[in-house]
Amino acid sequence: MAVMEATLPRRLISTPVAGPLAALVLAAVFFGLNSGQFFTGSNFSLIIQQVMVVGTLAIGQTLIILTAGIDLSNGAIMAFGGIVMTKLAVDSGLPPVLALVAGLAVCSGFGLVNGLLVTRISLPPFIVTLGMLNVVFALTHIYSDEQTITELPALLTFLGETFQVGQTNVTYGSLLTILLFLVFAYLLGSTAWGRHVYALGNSPEVARLTGIRTNRLTVGVYTLAGFVYGIAALLLVSRTGVGDPQAGQTDNLDSITAVVLGGTSLFGGRGLVIGTLVGALIVGVFRNGLQLMGVPSIYQTLITGILVILAVAVDQLSRRRNR
């Protein structure tokens, strides 16, 4: 009596990106109708440039949220990484490659420490990363001596350069960001590691009982997230052309917002990293579109608030229909 249907190509995780995508399209159509400059290649390229830093941070955030954690320290880690790369290359005269590697290593290191605190002492991720946020923030300002670092070597700004696609200038950084999303979509969706991350987020106890080394996996996820923050640091540095100790202060909440807008559950185990890309784009489109429409900034805040709620409401309602 096993009524097995022909194995349809259904998705691994039952959280579709359809909802967030619908919200994104609706938003784009809305702004397209209200602003003549919105639907242009250069504007789209701009939006991607504007969300690439938060988007990349949000990749790491997605990993951590999938394990039922949360990371408040990612913006701070990125800022520190940016300072390390630029200061070592400019002030300490290290070869740019080494400076870059050092920056990536430092970011991974902070991720590692986060992971160890979460697993070894079983501290809640919220607290660990909140503490880390303060610590790294302070270290950034102490180490940088509040100096913005300028005149960077080409290696550190290369990702800000553009190439032509038709009429439109696209930065290498945008490309790298998209690539990263695809890589992580692949890792999460098509490798054993990805499935373990989902299982861990579903229930650490179940994951442990099925023979997953949950502590090692968790530490790995946090470290990898740290590494991704390092890449975000490079993207930031390339985009702004400076090492800025003030950077990233609101990026922790912004990256969580992108993840949640993308349909990933804050309780772990459910969600897709591609949703996060959509979520980041939703925020970018809102900001860009409202500014193009010339809405005064306090009203931008007001409308963004409403739109964020609406975007997820669209998602929810589309799911209800699907039932």
């Binding site: 194995t7 995780i13 692949y186 989902y198 299982a199 997953i212």
Partner: protein, 285 residues
């Protein structure tokens, strides 16, 4: 007799063989609740050993300690006569011990195939698998379908997340997984509790097949007919320790139940009345 030196009737007469899995004096306390109070355990090669006992007798705690899911406070565990320590379930699994836990241990939002292969995913052949570590989803899905079909668990879709399966279907997934992977010992904590008559029968058949391929099985069950149908020996757990090891042939079902509840005690392979009132209450004398 004492729990420390239990009366072991030899179900397989002849040579004394080393137990596959053995435990001595396991103790496990949760706060002020003592779940295991010096429990012993012996699993002989190729047998089906039933573990029975009242609710809260410590059966689950016992097998969790044996399979690395919890760390006993004291006591020792021997695998093939050698002391072992399983730091986590993976350690036990590496020794070929597979377990169906009472609370099933399935990842709710993942589908059946993913759950079946969790922790030992199959990669695509060639570079795709070795370098890109790509999973062979099709293979895993087909294999899972085969295993589920062997249990005759009715499924209307293979790609549902397991959280949307019926209770029995979910249990089927857990059982199929354990059976598919075990090479040394299979431990099942009430594997048929949520299963229908037909599906239970399949699981019992499956257990027999596993035993016939030489792998011993530990079966926790409250279903006495099942136990008597399939068990070579019965381990009776009571108040956190083993109070008897008996062969189903030597005792009636009523006697076994009486031993379980403490109305009878086993002495030299014979059941003697321990608690007159209790024994009379259940119609034994």
């Amino acid at each position: 007799m004492t729990a420390e030196e239990p009366q072991t009737p030899a179900p397989q007469p002849g040579v004394a063989r080393t137990p596959v899995l053995q435990a001595r004096g396991l103790v496990k306390k949760y706060g002020h609740v003592t779940a295991l109070d010096g429990a012993d355990f012996d699993l002989m090669p190729g047998e089906v050993l039933a573990v029975i006992g009242d609710n809260g007798a410590g059966k689950t705690s016992l097998i969790k300690a044996l399979t690395g899911a919890v760390q006993p406070d004291s006591g020792e565990i021997l695998l093939d006569g050698r002391p072992v320590r399983f730091r986590d379930p993976l350690d036990a699994r590496k020794h070929g011990i597979e377990t169906v836990y009472q609370d099933l241990a399935v990842a709710a939002s993942l589908d059946i195939a993913t759950n079946m292969f969790l922790g030992r995913e199959v990669r695509k052949p060639g570079v795709l698998g070795s370098v890109f570590r790509m999973l062979d989803k099709k293979h895993m899905r087909e294999e899972s379908a085969r295993h589920m079909a062997a249990l005759k668990i009715g499924l209307r879709s293979l790609t549902q997340p397991v959280e949307s399966l019926s209770g029995g279907q979910r249990q089927g997934v857990a059982v199929a997984r354990a059976v598919a992977w075990a090479t040394h010992v299979v431990v099942m904590d009430e594997p048929t509790a949520a299963l229908g008559v037909k599906e239970s029968g399949q699981v019992l058949d499956m257990i027999k097949r596993v035993r016939d391929r030489g792998t011993p099985v530990v079966l926790i069950s409250h279903n006495m007919p099942h136990v008597f149908e399939i068990a070579d020996r019965i381990h009776v757990q009571r108040l956190g320790r083993r109070v008897a090891e008996i062969a189903p042939g030597d005792h009636s079902m009523a006697e076994v139940v009486a031993i379980m509840t403490g109305a009878l005690q086993v002495s030299d392979g014979k059941a003697v009345v321990a608690d007159q009132g209790a024994a009379e209450a259940i119609g034994l004398s």
